[in-house]
């Protein structure tokens, strides 16, 4: 890990700890105020608890031009990105995407090419619908590892994280607390529930929280769509294509719309925000990731809308290519944040539990 990023975050955290005015905003400050000195692991944990809502920056009396020059959202964002790169596995891929939007675009093109190649090379043996273009078995052969390998990689990264932050054995209550927190995106709401300071300086707005909800729940609905379809296929022998009112379609279409609209809105919101309050070096790649995710949603919707036209095979290749790219890049792009945030919230739930026990 980069020691100068940690050192700068520690310098700022020590000033915050002597002030404490921001205690009510989010999960970071109560956790910060519980310490008197900050190990690298403490800084790592604080960085991953931070959701970059920026409330503390605009409330801070010590931001530049003050000589203390506080910008905690930026300091923690930089540590966070460095964490994700340092914990990622395998390392040769770790630093390729977080700061390189172009690499994400290139990976997408390769994803298209792989799918087109697969369709050409494997094709189908005469099923109906999408399976007429690429057989179900071929899809499974491609996507099962493309899904499981990144999850395996993320599991390894999270183990690195857990060791760094001195995580304890996880209890059900820790998970419940973390999911509850994440489900409401409480750390994008500020303590008073009025949202964050993102698109218009110190104005509180629910914009980012609602848009993030759209993306997160849109993604989860799409994921649910695929999962339900898998169960229907293997358990109940019900094969695609499914009707409009089937669960896979209902989840998929609503999720696709939320994902597409959410990602578009998030990109616009990021354009309005001050890049210097995040990790400036990751800005382009974050936008690249958001557009990739949005493209997964959009291409899925277009594929559905035009599935009975001659464009379908090409659209299928494009959609599946983007899905493939998205999954494979999961451990090395902004997508990793969801896993780390959740881990940080689980660790924070443990901290609160320990404090409670001590008292």
């Amino acid at each position: 890990m980069q020691t100068e990023l940690i050192r700068e975050a520690r310098r700022q955290a020590e000033i915050c700890n002597a002030c404490r005015y921001c205690e009510g905003y989010c999960s970071v400050f109560p956790s910060l105020h519980a310490e008197r000195a900050f190990s690298d692991g403490d800084i790592t944990q604080l960085a991953n608890l931070c959701h970059n809502c920026r409330g503390c920056y605009y409330a801070c009396q010590y931001t530049a031009p003050h000589e203390f020059d506080l910008n905690l959202p930026k300091a923690l964002a930089e540590v966070r990105r460095d964490n994700w790169e340092s914990f990622a596995w395998p390392q040769p891929l770790a630093r390729r995407f977080h700061t390189h939007g172009g690499a994400i675009a290139l990976a997408l093109v390769i994803g298209f090419a792989l799918l087109l190649g697969a369709i050409r090379a494997i094709g189908s043996s005469g099923d109906e619908g999408f399976y007429a273009v690429l057989s179900h078995n071929a899809m499974v052969v491609i996507f099962a590892p493309a899904f499981l390998l990144p999850l395996f990689s993320i599991a390894i990264s999270l183990r690195h994280y857990w060791a760094k932050v001195d995580g304890e054995p996880i209890q059900m209550s820790d998970l419940m607390a973390a999911f509850k927190h994440a489900g409401k995106m409480q750390d994008l709401a500020a303590g008073h529930g009025e949202g964050c300071n993102f698109e218009d300086e110190d104005r509180f707005s629910q914009g980012r929280r609602q848009i993030h909800h759209a993306i997160m729940y849109g993604f989860l609905l799409c994921f649910a769509s695929t999962s339900v379809a898998t169960v229907m296929h293997y358990v109940f022998g019900m094969h695609a294509p499914y009707g409009f009112w089937s669960l896979p379609k209902v989840f998929g279409i609503s999720g696709g719309i939320l994902l597409t609209v959410g990602c578009g809105a998030m990109a616009l919101l990021k354009l309005k925000s001050d890049r210097e309050l995040g990790d400036p070096s990751a800005w382009g790649a974050d936008i690249g990731f958001i557009l990739l995710l949005g493209f997964v949603g959009l291409s899925g919707l277009v594929l559905y809308a035009l599935s009975s036209t001659a464009l379908m095979p090409a659209l299928l290749a494009i959609h599946l290519g983007s899905v493939l790219t998205f999954f494979l890049l999961m451990p090395y792009t902004k997508m990793a944040h969801g896993f780390y945030r959740l881990a940080a919230l689980v660790r924070d739930a443990q901290r609160k539990r320990d404090v409670f026990l001590v008292r």
Partner: protein, 464 residues
Amino acid sequence: MATQAEAYDIAVIGGGNAALCAAMTAAEAGARVLILETAPKPYRGGNSRHTRNFRCMHTGPLGPLVEEYSEDEYLSDLLKVTGGKTDEHLARLAIRTSEECLPWMEEHGVRFQPSLSGTLSLARTNAFFMGGGKSLVNAYYRTAAGLGIDVRYEAAVTHLELNGDQIEWVDFTYEGQEHRITPKAVIVASGGFQADTDWLTRAWGEPAKNFRIRGTPYNRGVVLADLLDQGIERVGDPTQCHAVAIDGRAPKFDGGIVTRLDCVPFSIVVNKNAERFYDEGEDVWPKRYAIWGRLVAAQPDQVGYVLIDAKSLNLFMPSVFPPLKANTLEELAGMMDLPADKLTATVAEFNAACGDTSGFHPTELDGVMTTGLTPPKTNWARPITEPPFYGYSLRTGVTFTYLGLKVDDAAQCSTRDGKIKNLWAAGETMAGSILGQGYLAGFGMTIGTVFGRIAGREAAAYAN
């Protein structure tokens, strides 16, 4: 000299809490208001940027405040710290009105949070702003903009022309040009003069040069001096101020909350001759922090040195600068430039005067005291024996000065001949009307909010 095209009913001088409360109240009453803030936008808000809470009377649970805090208890807390040097009529007005201010503040965008960790003793009396004073200031500027109030940053008021019983015009510089406006009414809310070191030195003598200014460097008392020179009624002694003992390494200006040191009750404090000079354990820190600024100011070179040992290190809030640390007292004396033999003697004498420490309790008056020592330490007196030893230097940190404009219960200013019909004052610039000496945590914001709203209401009534 350029003139201002727009016609304003009211000019508010200053851009902190009192100014904003006045401006919003006046605008809501229909007045066209201009705020002239001398600081640039990042430093707007005066000392309010550094505040964190609002001391508030309440007859039952109110917002973040628990239980009750009655008018009489509030007043008695105030009288204790001011030694009776309080205008009781104005104090009661501020206290009584504070209760209705809290919901008003919320309506105007302020959000509160539970009492901060390390400040539990204030949970009943002081409502903490979520995010601190700067977030309050931000919220008020947003609300003010919504009310159509115009704000000029880096607009330095140089002169108010007093003619008989009214202010005729206001001169200020803005964007390199001199401007003159003729509002119907003027509200002065531009703070004390503490950032003008020359003025402070005239009042205090040479010691003032060693003082730190905890808040904004923009409160230089320009408008205050201009008005006092024209014979406006004054109040307060120029050496009286809200001053605390802060870390000697604090910046000259604007160090704010993080430079405070809360370790005095668990320490011994010596001067540059390594002699103790005051009872460090007289009372809980929130009730004593405000006297230590003056105590340190009275010592040679206006400096003090706090000493603790390892067992006390985690009993107080951390401050921004780490303490000096040494394994022996001699070594620590060397680091702090104190006479080592004298320091060890002082510590030995103190240690010998300590008695049974089994009743030690860090958060309440525990009566663990010295015997036969002058000055005594009457609580938390535990011998300084356990290495490593830690030390901080202490300097006087001035928050705001009390010499100011004398106002009545309508926040109106006057001359010897009577009221000035279109001049009101609010906030630190008139706080001396209530605070003769001493300070009560969170009371500055109470004065600013209460008198800001009164000034806004009265000025708008006059202008309309």
